[in-house]
């Protein structure tokens, strides 16, 4: 009796989590160009428009209804991808070297680093966002893709470092010592012994950094210029201006893409845990 009540509650919980996502997906196939909340038949027009295969809602355009322009959207997607790829590479290098230093060396400033590591994660986003905005404008650096990359790397480094640390904790230092005893120099040991063992942690950290970078809204909001809007910022603007039907198609594609990447990451981790 009690157990079945709990099950019902849990099912409600999962419905609450997933219904909103399915609502978007459902509406993205709605043909009605004027009021996207009134069902007007099934269409793939919005997707065609996004993918550049024909004009979205041709009828709607004939009736003089404004359609969000595809080139702007693709530019935002391109900005997001450039930013996410650069930040992933940089923060993975920084995060891994930090994690290695913390795991393999004893030094006096260590507590400072372990504590400071949590700071960018524990701090409200908005504070870091405005701090970066003030800093960039004070030193006269114009807001651009560069400022977004620099800004995002500050907190992504922490996420990568924590993920890599978890992997490092499970490694056997004896293997590295054996490698050194057998005459390998530090670089060879790192390349042939440490790095291969660390790889799952590295991939996990990099994937996490990529996902968070692609999705970051608050910090990027303050440090992206007019010419360098990322996808979330562009969609935020679209929502503020009043929503247009193709936003549902964009949102659906984003949901599917991000879930695919996340599923891949979680699957990799599950496999790593098992081995």
């Amino acid at each position: 009796m009690k157990r079945s009540f709990l099950t019902l509650f849990a099912l409600g919980f999962f419905a609450f989590l997933y219904v909103p996502l399915f609502v978007i997906i459902g509406y993205s196939f709605n043909a009605n160009p004027v009021n996207m909340l009134i069902w007007d038949g099934f269409t793939l027009d919005w997707y065609r428009g996004l993918l550049g295969l024909g004009t979205p809602g041709l009828d709607a355009q004939n009736r003089g209804i404004y359609i969000e322009s595809t080139p702007q959207l693709l530019a935002a997607l391109k900005t997001s991808l450039i930013v996410a790829c650069s930040t992933t590479v940089i923060s993975t290098i920084f995060g891994t070297s930090l994690a290695l230093a913390l795991a393999r060396f004893q030094f006096r400033a260590k507590p400072l680093y372990t504590g400071g590591l949590m700071l960018p994660i524990m701090m409200p986003d908005i504070v870091l966002g405005i701090g970066l905005l003030i800093f960039f404008s004070t030193i006269g650096l114009r807001l651009s893709i560069l400022t977004i990359v620099l800004g995002q790397c500050t907190f992504l480094t922490s996420y990568v470092c924590i993920t890599v640390q978890a992997r490092l904790a499970g490694l056997d230092p004896a293997l590295e010592e054996a490698s050194a005893d057998l005459g390998a120099n530090a670089w060879t040991t790192f390349r042939k012994v440490t790095l291969p063992q660390l790889a799952p942690g590295l991939v996990g950290g990099a994937l996490l950094a990529f996902i968070i970078s692609m999705d970051d809204l608050v910090i990027t909001y303050f440090i992206s210029g007019t010419g360098s809007q990322t996808l979330p910022i562009y969609i935020f603007g679209m929502i503020r201006r009043g929503v247009k039907p193709e936003i549902n198609a964009i949102a659906t594609l984003i949901i599917l893409a991000s879930m695919l990447v996340a599923a891949l990451g979680l699957w990799l981790r599950a496999r790593q845990d098992r081995s």
Partner: protein, 293 residues
């Protein structure tokens, strides 16, 4: 430490230290600095000490201590209330579900944990946008309610405080769930059985045994939800009305429309102070709870 070791250590630490020093620590310090500078007439800043940025937050009008009106404190209190409501609702929702998942057979558990973590990765802005579709006067919820005859006129759901709470709870649920689950999953079933065998009623077992043992998870989840909730401006911006201005929105306005950066910085400093205060309270509570258990 040998000379060579030292070289390796600083080879690893040097670049990242330099980077975080310049692009993380200095920006934080500039906020502190700006919060005590004079706002310029046309949005700039004058390099002169000015304490009225903080004065304004606590109710005094800019530089003239005649009109006392704590409007910013009210906004701050409202943001705190929203963050606490979000924390409590997330806790109330996740606690039973965490038990449900923990009691599942091993194979199913992985699947449901995966299902809970997954929406967290679907873009935040997209997930909030979904609620816009659902709550609109002509949106899904009203359509369903009208069709079933439960209501005769569309309800005003969007742009209300409840819509903001709903949106906040929705985006922060996974943050609460995972630490909570970690604590509940490691519960020792023998202790619960022992409590029952010794004659404790179920509610006594819950209050005296189960809840104290899961407290670390409760505290961790609450902190992780509370911190981003206090300064959040995205949810009130999309789902909230004009009356639902939160501290986050206020800060955003100071930087992007009013261009009063010093005042915005002072507000951000206050938000930081609130977060630090909350962290300290939570940490000491957790320590006390840890000592008792």
């Amino acid at each position: 430490m040998t000379h060579r070791d030292r070289l390796h250590l600083w080879g690893l630490l040097g670049p990242v230290t330099l980077f975080l020093g310049v692009f993380f620590l200095i920006p934080l310090l500039t906020i502190a600095l700006y919060s005590i500078l004079t706002p310029g007439l046309y949005g700039g800043v004058e390099w002169a000490f000015y304490h009225w940025n903080y004065g304004r937050i606590f109710g005094w009008a800019d530089g003239i201590d005649e009109v006392f009106e704590p409007v910013y404190l009210q906004i701050l209190a409202r943001s705190l209330g929203l963050a606490l409501t979000t924390v409590l609702l997330c806790l109330a929702i996740c606690y039973p579900v965490a038990f449900w998942v923990a009691w599942l057979p091993q194979r199913w558990r992985m699947l449901f944990l995966f299902l809970i973590a997954l929406p967290f990765f679907a873009s935040l802005i997209v997930r909030l946008y979904a609620w816009l579709l659902i709550l609109k006067p002509s949106g899904l919820l009203n359509t369903v309610l009208l069709a079933t005859g439960l209501i005769s006129e569309p309800l005003d759901l969007l742009y209300t405080p409840s819509a903001v709470v709903l949106g906040m709870v929705y985006i922060f649920l996974p943050f609460m769930f995972l630490p909570l689950f970690a604590a509940i999953d490691t519960l020792d079933a023998a202790l619960i059985e022992a409590s029952a065998d010794l004659g404790a009623k179920p509610w006594q077992t819950f209050l005296k045994v189960i809840f104290p043992m899961t407290l670390p998870g409760v505290v961790a989840g609450s902190v992780i939800v509370f911190i981003p909730a206090v300064g959040n401006f995205i949810v009130p911006d999309i789902l909230g009305g004009a009356k639902g201005l939160m501290t986050g929105n206020l800060i955003e306005q100071q930087f992007l429309s009013s261009r009063n950066w010093p005042f915005g910085s002072a507000l951000a400093m206050v938000v930081m102070a609130v977060v630090l205060g909350a962290l300290t309270i939570f940490a000491t509570r957790a320590k006390k709870a840890g000592g008792a258990a």
